[in-house]
Each structure stands twice: as structure tokens, then as C-alpha cells.
């Protein structure tokens, strides 16, 4: 009875309705490499509806009522985990959190055993972050619940890429033909990998800018395995007439492992400063997935400047994740 009432109550409905033409076929969200432009448009469309929900005085709809979402984090995280938790609660899901450090994982339980336990506990959706590339792919073989990849090793961070795309979508009339530059530690970055897929899928040209020691190998060799990108190690040249500038967090241990001579030199060569940003288009947007090393990969003036959309990224993160959870729930067997 309750359900019917909710259905009839316009305040509890999500608007606008998704386009009928695009069918959502993902049971898991592992990466954006298997998303079509139409599916990404569907995510945009659904996110817009979720933003409308978030603008209400009571930011809650019953879309995931009765569903259990568990976050399983093997790595520390502030914004991603919180963002997922809020997104799930806004959709009325039951949420439980499992941290590797406090759980039996610390006692040596294997990933597969942990997943079996979550399965037995009745999880419908598992949001998973893991330091090893591919861990969520392995998880899908042992659990029926939907797996949402919240970051795996160097490999992928699909919800970050989708929230970045959505943020671009909010600012730009059309995505096709834009120029994006990703600056920083591309080799070890799951954010960069997923963004390369997401941006190129939407017709945005991608330039990678980093010291060659931080550039992954095999780029532009097999377009069916990895999208075509431009590589420009000189930051001034890379930024030329860019529409989108994405900076990445520099893990300070990269210097210890010999990939950089010093952090000082990295700052000199690769920090996004106001002077350098001036080479991009005047309306260029500046991104950072956080957490920021202010004064290393990005100057404080740029991070907090008028072109920065770093806070919007965080806000949109909740809406995009609501959209994705909503779409996933719709794909699950009732």
C-alpha cells in the first residue's frame, strides 16, 4: 500500500524521466570503457533529476528502499566513500560500511571470503575500493550483488570520470570537439585512465602532460584497446587553447622510487599556475579529484580561483552516484 501511495505522490517522484530509447544494461559499474555515449547521456539525464531531488528541502526519495548497500574500502577515502554513503541514503537504501583496517580483513581474510560474507549478509550493491587493479572484476565472479568500482589500483575510477564529465556537461553546450589536458602522474592514476575513456567517448580530445617517467607505455599503439591521445610533456604547449584542465594528485613516494629527481623540480616543470593556465582558453575549467597537495601539482591561487570547479566536482559526485545507483537498482531482478 505504502509503495502505491509513494508512486502517486509527485513529491517523491524523480523527474525528468529517463529517455525511453536508451536501455541501461550494466549490472556492475567497473569502468567507463564499456559505456556508450548514449549511456553517458543517460547518466547525465538521470543526474540532473537527482540534482533536482537534492535541491528539495527533504532530499530523499524511496528509489532504493529495501536495498542494502555495503561500502567495502581497502584504502582510505574521504570524499568517495562519504559521497556514496550520502547518495545511497538519499535514495533510502540501507547502508553499512566495512573498512579493511577494522574488519576481519586485517586478520587475513581473503577478498573472496569477505565477498561471500557480504553476499550472505544480503548485500544488493557493493561499493568497493581496492589497492589492486582488477579486484572488482574478480569480485563479480564470486558475488551476485552489483559491484560499483570506487577505485581499483591504477586501473579505474569510473564514478569520478562520470562526475567530471557531468561537471563539464553543466558548463559547456556541447562536449564534442573540446580539448582536455590531463597533467600529472598519469601512469599510476586510475582517475586519468577512466577519464581518458570517458572524455574520448564523448568526443573530447585528450592531451596527456607529465614527465615521461610517469607516462604509461603502449599509448596509441592499438586504438581498439586504448583510445588515441596526444602526449605533450611541455606544460605550456599542452595547455594551449585547452577547454578542460585536469590536475592529478602527486603521490610523494614517486620521488623516492626514482621517477622524479625532486618534488622541487616537479613543481617547477608541472605545477598548474595562473601564468600557465592563461595559455588555456579564458573559460577553461580546472579539475582536481582531491585530495589536493596544494602548492605541488596546483597553486593555491588556481585551486581556489574563478576557473576551479573542484567544489562542484564534489557536489556533483553525490548526484552522479545517486543516478548510477538508481540505474543499477533498476537493472536488478526484483
Amino acid at each position: 500500500m505504502k509503495t502505491t501511495q509513494q508512486k502517486d505522490n509527485p513529491a517523491l517522484q524523480i523527474k525528468p524521466k529517463a529517455p525511453e530509447t536508451t536501455i541501461w544494461r550494466h549490472h556492475h559499474i567497473l569502468d567507463v570503457d564499456d559505456f556508450t555515449p548514449e549511456e553517458i547521456e543517460l547518466v547525465f539525464h538521470t543526474t540532473k533529476a537527482m540534482k533536482e531531488v537534492l535541491s528539495r528541502p527533504i532530499k530523499r526519495v524511496p528509489a532504493l528502499r529495501g536495498k542494502t548497500l555495503i561500502t567495502l574500502f581497502y584504502e582510505p577515502s574521504t570524499r568517495t566513500r562519504l559521497s556514496f554513503e550520502l547518495a545511497a541514503k538519499n535514495l533510502s537504501a540501507d547502508v553499512a560500511n566495512l573498512s579493511a583496517s577494522v574488519s576481519s580483513v586485517a586478520k587475513g581474510e581473503s577478498l573472496i571470503d569477505t565477498l561471500s560474507t557480504l553476499q550472505a549478509l544480503g548485500a544488493d550493491i557493493v561499493v568497493m575500493r581496492h589497492p589492486r587493479s582488477g579486484a572488482p572484476y574478480i569480485a563479480t565472479k564470486y558475488i551476485e550483488a552489483s559491484i560499483v568500482n570506487a577505485g581499483d589500483g591504477w586501473h579505474a575510477h569510473p564514478t569520478q570520470a562520470l562526475l567530471d564529465l557531468y561537471t563539464i556537461h553543466e558548463h559547456k553546450k556541447s562536449l564534442k570537439g573540446l580539448k582536455a589536458v590531463i597533467i600529472g602522474d598519469i601512469m599510476h592514476s586510475r582517475v586519468a585512465r577512466s577519464n581518458i575513456w570517458g572524455l574520448t567517448t564523448m568526443g573530447i580530445a585528450v592531451t596527456l602532460c607529465c614527465p615521461p617517467t610517469l607516462l604509461p607505455v603502449g599509448l596509441n599503439e592499438e586504438p581498439h584497446q586504448l583510445p588515441q591521445v596526444n602526449v605533450e610533456p611541455n606544460i605550456e604547449l599542452a595547455l594551449d587553447r585547452a577547454d578542460i584542465v585536469m590536475t592529478l594528485r602527486l603521490q610523494l613516494e614517486r620521488q623516492q622510487s626514482g621517477l622524479l629527481p625532486s618534488i622541487r623540480e616537479y613543481i617547477q616543470l608541472y605545477q598548474l599556475t595562473e601564468a600557465r593556465l592563461a595559455r588555456a582558453k579564458p573559460d577553461a575549467l580546472v579539475f582536481h579529484p582531491g585530495p589536493i597537495n596544494e602548492g605541488i601539482e596546483i597553486s593555491p591561487a588556481v585551486a581556489h580561483g574563478p576557473q576551479s570547479v573542484i567544489n562542484e566536482q564534489v557536489t556533483n559526485g553525490v548526484a552522479v552516484r545517486m543516478a548510477l545507483l538508481y540505474l543499477l537498482a533498476g537493472s536488478q531482478k526484483q
Binding site: D33, S110, L111, I112, H130, R132, S133, G134, A135, Y137, I138, D152, G153, W154, H155, A156, R190, R193, P216, V217, G218, L219, E221, E222, Q225, L226
Partner: protein
């Protein structure tokens, strides 16, 4: 035991240049008679194994496998490993010394020999360590190992990083005319590497293992082999560059032999997509370009032999995150089926394939154990009988090996071992075939 007639098959023995249809009579563990066409055997009393439509050839010899005993019996034992070998058509297998404790002393080698005599179903020839404890610090007592019966020296899995020690090993081994086998890997370059370095490792976000890491050590070893004039054997060659280096070394007369595995000849790095830990192997699966060079290397004899690098692991060793999974593939029982995929398209002909599994590894082992890899009259009756056309699906539940770790599970292969005869006894027989007792 009654003599056994292998009747009416295609008999291929590269060691004698034979490829005929005919019959083979074995008695008292030896090859007694080989008759062409319908020729009748010289004596009337024998059992019959009908080999119509099948190929009979010398038993396969594997110069590189891991039997895991002593120390890792949950992965494999001499009992299970030799049965798996027999199912794959191998009658002689050479086990690597990376056991626990390692085969760096006479006692450990004697253990392998006595255990295989008691529990094995095919011939097991041990390989001894280069260095004490496989630590790469000081030479193992290679002379004593040689007299205990090892057929080569290797610290397999641990490349001999110290070039001086490698030189000493090559020099010292010359006294026993045994080869030194090196697993070529520059560990500083491959640290934490998970798969071939290239577009797929970038796509998957896994740390790569570059071609250069192998080729640097191949080049160093070849230089040391030239310097010492000793016998060097390069284990599991996987890159185009290594093939070129070995080809050039052979042209210069350096005493080098080399092996390639069935998986490096038939599978590419794309097998890793989806993070299949059963495709995680060291050296890693490479690219189509490398496969082409490896096949060419086999055909022009740059690469002398095919060896399995059979590396069984438990389910738990592979049922985990890709980075944490053990390296290695269980190969014995799929080797022939994989390799036969190269025959129909003419990438390698059947006789060459058999040569690389029989005559050539026998040449590297030498005569210490009698004439191996041949069907010559009087030789040990080690015979492999296979159906080159039989299609089958790899079901790891059927494996005799404890290691079910293969990326070929569920795949259809063409070419299957039907019977394996070791010293005149049936070490393995497919259910489809019956020996007719006369």
C-alpha cells in the same frame, strides 16, 4: 609382461628420419621391431593396441617442469606430476630444483630419484641448483650433483643476477659437460611486474614486465657463454629480441640451446584481459609479433626445443587479486593440444613439432640415461600415441595434476594423447582405447 604390438599407425621418429604407416613391437621394455605397412611381426605372441588413425612417436621429453616435491606437496607431488606428464604424452621430465629444500645437494637429488622410482609413472631427471640455496651467492657442489645424476644446473625462477657467479657456474660446469639453464630476467626492471609491459598492461593498470628485462639477461648470458665456451641453455624464451640475440649467437658458434613453452607459442597478453589469474605467468604472455618470431625461431632451429614450464599451483594461489596471485600455468595435460593448433596452418609441421619434443631435448640431455627420444631398435620403449584430429574440451576436473591453473579451461583443443608407454608399460591410456589381449 607380454609383448605389445602398436598396430597400423603413422609412425614418426625424427631421430631415424622415419615417417611411415606401420606397426611397432615392444617387449621387455625395449623397442623390438618396426614394420612398415602390413608387415607382420617376427613373433606371434603379443597384445595389440590398434593405432589406426593415430600417430606413434618417441615419448615426449620435457626439459623444464616443476613437481613441487619436496616442500609444496599441496601444489603437486612426484606421483601426481608424473601422472599428469603421462596424460600429456611425456615419458621423461626434468624437474627444476626450486623445491623446499632446493635440490642443491646430493641428498635432495637422491630423494627425487628414489621417490620417482617408487611413485612416479614416467622417468624423472632432476636439475640441480647453480648456487647453494638458490641464493645466487656461492656455487652449489656441482660436481657432487653431477655424480648424483642431475642433467643440468639452474636456479630457476631466480636468475643468476651476479654476473661473476654466472661465469663461474658456466666455467665449472664444463668439467661435467652439463648445461647451465638460466631464467633470464633483470629483477631490477621487473620488480612487482604482473604481465607483459605494453598497451594491455596500461589498459588494465597492472605493472608491466618489459621485453628488455629478458633480453638484457639473454645478452649477458650469451656473452658469458662465449667467454667461457661452456654450454648455456636459455629457459622459456618469449620475445622477438631474445630470438634475434640467440640466432646471432648461434651464427657465431656460441654453445647455446633454447626452449619455448606451448603457452608462449599460442597465447598472447590479451588472455589477461578480465584479470584471469590463470593467465599470470613468468615470463609473461607476450604479443602476436613475439609469437611469430618464436615460431620462426623454432623452424630455423634458433630455438631447439619445446618445454612446458609446467607450474602447478593450488586454487587458493590463484583465487585472489591479480597482483597477489602466483605465477605459473599447469601445462602437461594441454601441451600437445595447444601445440597442434600450430600445425593445420603450416606454422610448424608435425615432424618439426615432434622433433622439438623428442630428439632435440634428448640431444641436450645426452646419453647419460641411454638413448632417449628415439624408436630405434633396442631403445627404451618410451612411446607416445596421439590422435592428431581428436577435438576435446579442457576440463580441469579430469587433470591428474593437482594444479588446475590453466587459462585454457573450457577451451576446445584439437589433438589428444591416447596412450603413453614408458619402458614398455602403459603409463596412461585414454578410456576410448582398449588393448586387445590375444
Amino acid at each position: 609382461m607380454k609383448p605389445l604390438l602398436i598396430q597400423g599407425g603413422r609412425i614418426i621418429d625424427p631421430s631415424q628420419g622415419i615417417d611411415v604407416s606401420g606397426s611397432l613391437l615392444i617387449a621387455d621394455g625395449k623397442i623390438l621391431w618396426l614394420g612398415k605397412g602390413e608387415a607382420a611381426p617376427p613373433q606371434p605372441d603379443y597384445d595389440v593396441l590398434n593405432a589406426q588413425g593415430l600417430v606413434a612417436c618417441p615419448g615426449f621429453i620435457d626439459l623444464h617442469c616443476h613437481l613441487r616435491q619436496p616442500g609444496d606437496e599441496e601444489k603437486e607431488t612426484i606421483a601426481t606430476g608424473t601422472r599428469a606428464a603421462a596424460r600429456g604424452g611425456f615419458t621423461t621430465i626434468c624437474c627444476m630444483p626450486n623445491t623446499n629444500p632446493p635440490l642443491d645437494n646430493q641428498t635432495a637429488v637422491e630423494f627425487i630419484k628414489s621417490k620417482s622410482a617408487l611413485e612416479g609413472v614416467v622417468r624423472v631427471l632432476p636439475i640441480g641448483c647453480i648456487s647453494k640455496g638458490r641464493k645466487g651467492e656461492e656455487l652449489a657442489e656441482m660436481g657432487e650433483l653431477a655424480s648424483a645424476g642431475v642433467i643440468a644446473f639452474s636456479d630457476d625462477g631466480e636468475p643468476t643476477t651476479n654476473s661473476r657467479l654466472m661465469r663461474q657456474a658456466l666455467d665449472y660446469s664444463r668439467a661435467f659437460d652439463l648445461p647451465v639453464i638460466d631464467h633470464c630476467e633483470d629483477k631490477a626492471l621487473t620488480e612487482d611486474g604482473q604481465m607483459n609491459e605494453g598497451v594491455i598492461s596500461t589498459k588494465l593498470g597492472l605493472r608491466g614486465i618489459s621485453d628488455a628485462a629478458e633480453e638484457i639477461m639473454v645478452a649477458r648470458d650469451l656473452a658469458l657463454a662465449q667467454l667461457t665456451g661452456s654450454r648455456l641453455h636459455i629457459a622459456h624464451v618469449t620475445t622477438e629480441g631474445s630470438v634475434e640475440l640467440i640466432r646471432r649467437a648461434k651464427e657465431k658458434g656460441i654453445k647455446v640451446t633454447a626452449e619455448v613453452t606451448p603457452h608462449h607459442l599460442t597465447l598472447t597478453e590479451e588472455k589477461v584481459i578480465g584479470y584471469d589469474t590463470n593467465a599470470k605467468v613468468n615470463p609473461p604472455l607476450r604479443t602476436k609479433k613475439d609469437i611469430k618470431a618464436l615460431i620462426q625461431g623454432l623452424n630455423d632451429n634458433t630455438i631447439d626445443i619445446i618445454a612446458t614450464d609446467h607450474a602447478p599451483h593450488t586454487e587458493a594461489d590463484k583465487l585472489c587479486e591479480f597482483d597477489l596471485a602466483q605465477f605459473g600455468i599447469s601445462v602437461f595435460e594441454t601441451a600437445l593440444g595447444s601445440l597442434m593448433s600450430l600445425v593445420p596452418d603450416g606454422e610448424i609441421n608435425l615432424t618439426t613439432l615432434i622433433t622439438k619434443l623428442t630428439q632435440e631435448p634428448a640431444r641436450i640431455i645426452g646419453n647419460k640415461y641411454g638413448g632417449l627420444g628415439t624408436l630405434a631398435i633396442g631403445a627404451s620403449a618410451d612411446v607416445t600415441i596421439f590422435d592428431p584430429d581428436l577435438e576435446w574440451v579442457v576440463d580441469t576436473k579430469d587433470f591428474a595434476s593437482k594444479g588446475r591453473n590453466t587459462p585454457l579451461a573450457g577451451e576446445r583443443l584439437k589433438g589428444k594423447v591416447i596412450a603413453t608407454i614408458f619402458q614398455g608399460n602403459l603409463a596412461y591410456k585414454d578410456d576410448s582405447i582398449k588393448v586387445k589381449v590375444k
